[in-house]
């Protein structure tokens, strides 16, 4: 029996002790004598969130397949345990071996959202690892960052030894081997980081110097080490049907957020919505082979015993063999009582047929994500969905027995006017009117339309990376305005408007497009006690306000100003495949309210062609044949 790092007394006095004991089905134990490299993978949020993340499961499986490597997991201790660990000086430990993180060779931290940044400091601090990479010694693990937020790693650059930019399946084995080689040669930590800097996609922040202009913008961003590259090109796995994918994902004892098998059917997106960072970052779209997916689904259900499987992608409807895959899953899993869930499905005849087979119509709802209320604004953001699509899709669904529609919108999009916002209420009302076109005796009770709004945050590597963000007062006024407009609609009683508050939105905006100087703000607010900022019940606005005041964080500079075309952005040293010229062109096309066709209809020359594969080749070959 594995000896636990925490005593019975501590475990009995905290919420959900199962978060910290490991030993889950399919978790991996190796003998310490048989491994020479120990890697700890961290999702800096609570266990139930971190265990729901597919990326960690993929990398955990991959690292453990490497000879001589043992990969373990760690998640953020919830504030109740955090307090006890600080009082009793208990070092943070990995779940599998319960050994201190400080004893590991590597600590890899995934960066999924900006509001987990204080949790990174918590992890390092509780582990006893110096927060600043510059202060670490030969005894400390190498701290690596990866995931979507590493596409602008600058606000947290000081805390990481290096960032792995791009997809993890490609060069981690090489990096582990470099580590071994360096160790054999008796090399130092710095020697190893220089070797890492030679690998494509690896960014070692301490090997770069940043200078600023008087207006605070970046003047220069230059390597200070001969091994550091001027631009870092992202890593892309081009063979998605012939790479690491776990047959036996870890099955948590606790009920986690995504308590199911996740099948990633493709990576990337053809749609090119101009606000969407994921749609730009993961280009080109690459589909996994349908037979690979079928086999994987069967194995994963068998090995986990999960009762649900979900298809994951940015836009499932664009997966070419979707009907074949979905009907296979329905047939195969019916007798095994496995549910199938299909998020991000465009509502059409196929979707309605599938939904009627896999869900209880009475309890389920239709989901549309128009993102903007008017066609004009939808053109600005390049969201192809039209009012006709929504109304026809809704009507077909209503005839099929559905009576519950969810709509997702954003407030604060570039060029937005009151008219655009009002159109959200009008669209909701039109859907309700469609419903009441159906004769009363054929209707299934009342219709319920639930529009909800979130606030738009401009992100790096999107056509909107130049735009100014709305102020808090503007966001609130817009939400109030929409609320009023909803009440003015004919079917106001069938429309239930919901909105998320804007507390975190501005902070997210600061860190999304921020620079290296923000690490001071993070340190300051962390030392004041901020952790778990993404949790509304844990978020302490007063600490952030005070820290921003002390650090003189200039919101006008970071979020509220419109940026110049040629401004040097903190993330410009990364080559994510899409060029800055393309993004600017898309921004201008958007301002002209023009739509850019999706990747399958024609190549928009974004730059991802340089990865030599996926959709780019299919489309360009056709174009060039003409």
């Amino acid at each position: 029996m594995q000896k636990l790092a925490l005593s019975d007394e501590i475990l009995m006095n905290i919420e959900k002790p199962v978060r910290y004991i490991g030993g889950e089905v399919n978790s991996i134990k190796k003998s310490k004598d048989e491994v020479d490299v120990r890697f700890c993978m961290c999702f800096p949020d609570v266990y139930e969130i971190g265990m729901s993340h597919l990326g960690i499961q993929i990398l955990y499986d991959m690292f453990n397949k490497f000879d001589g490597v043992w990969c373990e997991r760690v998640y953020s201790p919830w504030p109740d345990l955090d307090k006890i660990m600080r009082e009793k000086h208990i070092p943070l430990f990995a779940l599998e071996s319960q050994d201190p993180i400080k004893d590991f060779d590597f600590l890899g931290i995934t960066l999924q959202y900006e509001m987990c940044y204080t949790n990174i400091l918590q992890i390092l601090d509780l582990s006893g690892i110096p927060l600043s990479a510059a202060e670490r010694t030969e005894d400390d693990p190498i701290v690596i960052g990866g995931g979507p937020c590493s596409y602008n790693p600058e606000p947290i650059a000081d805390f990481f030894d290096f960032f792995y930019i791009g997809e993890g399946e490609t060069v981690y084995e090489d990096i582990i081997n470099l580590y071994r080689k360096n160790r054999e040669n008796g090399g130092s930590r710095r020697d190893f980081l220089e070797m890492v800097a030679d690998v494509e996609g690896m960014y070692v922040p301490m090997f770069y110097d940043v200078e600023y202009n008087e207006d605070q913008t970046i003047k220069s961003f230059e390597p200070n080490n001969p091994h550091a590259k001027r631009t870092i090109r992202k890593q892309v796995e081009m063979k998605l049907s012939d790479t690491y994918y776990p047959d036996k994902p870890v099955v948590p004892f606790l009920q986690v957020v995504q308590d199911k098998v996740t099948l990633e059917i493709q990576r990337g997106c053809i749609r090119g919505c101009r606000f969407c960072q994921a749609g730009m970052l993961y280009r080109p779209i690459r589909e996994r082979d349908v037979n690979f997916l079928k086999e994987q689904a069967v194995k994963m259900i068998k090995n986990t015993g999960h009762e649900e499987i979900t298809l994951s992608s940015l836009s499932s409807s664009d997966y070419k063999a979707l009907p074949e895959l979905v009907y296979f899953l329905i047939d195969y899993f019916k007798k095994l009582q496995v549910n199938i869930s299909l998020p991000s499905l465009r509502i059409d005849a196929f979707a309605l047929d599938v939904m009627s087979k896999v869900q209880d119509i009475k309890k389920s709802s239709l989901t549309f994500a128009p993102e903007a209320g008017s066609q004009r604004l939808r053109n600005v953001i390049n969201k192809g969905l039209t009012e006709e699509n929504i109304l026809n899709g809704s009507m077909d669904a209503f005839r099929g027995g559905w009576n519950n529609v969810k709509l997702y919108f954003m407030l604060g999009l570039p060029t937005e006017t009151e008219e655009d916002i009002e159109q959200i209420a009008v669209l909701a009302d039109k859907i309700a009117r469609e419903y009441y076109e159906i004769p009363k005796d054929q209707r299934n009770g009342r219709v319920q339309i639930t529009p909800s709004t979130s606030f738009f945050v401009p992100k790096p590597f999107t056509p909107f990376q130049w735009v100014s963000m709305n102020r808090e007062e503007q966001f609130r006024a817009k939400a109030r305005f929409l609320k009023q407009k909803v009440t003015e609609q004919l079917n106001a009683r069938s429309i239930h408007y919901k909105w998320h508050d804007s507390d975190l939105t501005i902070l997210e905006g600061i860190f999304a497009r921020g620079d290296r100087r923000l690490s001071k703000l993070l340190l300051n607010v962390y030392k004041k006690g901020a952790i778990f900022d993404a949790w509304t019940d844990q978020f302490k606005k007063d600490l952030w306000d005070k820290a921003m005041e002390e650090e003189k964080t200039d919101l006008e500079f970071y979020v509220f100003r419109e940026r110049e075309k040629d401004e040097l952005f903190p993330w410009d040293f990364i080559n994510a495949g899409i060029t800055k010229e393309f993004l600017w062109r898309e921004y201008q096309t958007g301002l002209n309210e023009k739509v850019t066709p999706n990747c399958r209809k024609g190549c928009a020359r974004c730059g991802a062609f340089e990865f030599h594969g996926g959709i780019c080749y299919e489309v360009r070959e056709k174009e060039e044949a003409k």
């Binding site: 019975d8 199962v18 004991i21 009920q255």
Partner: protein, 247 residues
């Protein structure tokens, strides 16, 4: 067909809640490819019912649940298949097929069957001990001879004072820890047979607390580990282990 499954929950998995245990078995049963029966409707669930839930932090080798199945090869096959899916901390001890419920009679619920439980209470010896093991046992045997042992039982409706004495069925000091019992250097091992079930469920902690009050000592709940050995049903005037009830 109904199977009655006896299992152990031990080691680090003592921190799993009753809900976690149920979820664990639902998945384990699917992995083991048992031909389990599901309820009707849009959200079918496995037809399983558990005996008295075990408190978080306690270990046991006397846990039970009933499972409805469509078919099986043999109870031995079910036992082997399930054990192949158990991580360290769970173990299937016994699987039996219940006799069919006669028509027109209501199936007896497993929960309602439970009338008594056996426990081992182990002293961890982590804190400074006010009494040696010898003194502790001496005092304890005096204590359980008292005609009236008053304790405050906290229930949903409020606190009530009850007399524990009639619910203590047996106390022994010579029972040896089993293979699945947590091991502590201190070595003190107390065996208790207590009334359990829907009517008067006496948790060992309640008795330990009352003992400490009687002995004028402070009660530290983390000083003792409770391990359930068995759950009993009543057949006429005899207590029989649940797994033998239908023999």
């Amino acid at each position: 067909m109904t199977l009655r499954i006896k299992f152990a929950k031990y080691g680090n998995l003592k921190f799993l809640s009753h809900l976690d245990v149920m979820r664990f078995f639902q998945k384990a049963i699917r992995r083991a490819e048992i031909d389990v029966k599901y309820s009707e409707g849009y959200h079918p669930h496995q037809l399983m019912s558990f005996a008295a839930p075990l408190g978080v932090g306690q270990t046991s080798e006397g846990e039970y649940f009933d499972l409805e199945i469509n078919s099986m090869e043999s109870t031995q096959d079910v036992l082997e298949r399930l054990n192949a899916q158990m991580p360290e901390g769970f173990k299937i001890i016994h699987v039996s097929l219940l006799p069919p419920t006669p028509p027109q009679t209501k199936k007896e619920s497993l929960m309602a069957l439970v009338k008594a439980s056996d426990y081992l209470v182990l002293r961890k010896g982590l804190a400074d001990l006010p009494l040696t093991n010898q003194e502790f046992l001496g005092k304890f045997s005096e204590f359980v001879k008292e005609p009236e042992i008053l304790a405050i039982k906290t229930t949903k409706v409020g606190d009530t004072e009850i007399n524990l004495a009639p619910f203590i069925y047996d106390v022994r000091f010579d029972v040896q820890p089993t293979e699945l019992t947590p091991k502590y250097e201190n070595g003190l091992c107390l065996y208790l047979k207590l009334c359990a079930g829907n009517e008067n469920h006496i948790r060992p902690e309640l008795l330990m607390k009352a003992f400490h009050a009687y002995a004028g000592m402070e009660y530290d709940q983390y000083e003792f580990q409770v391990h359930r050995l068995e759950a009993y049903a009543r057949r006429e005037n005899e207590l029989v282990p649940i797994c033998n009830y239908h023999d």
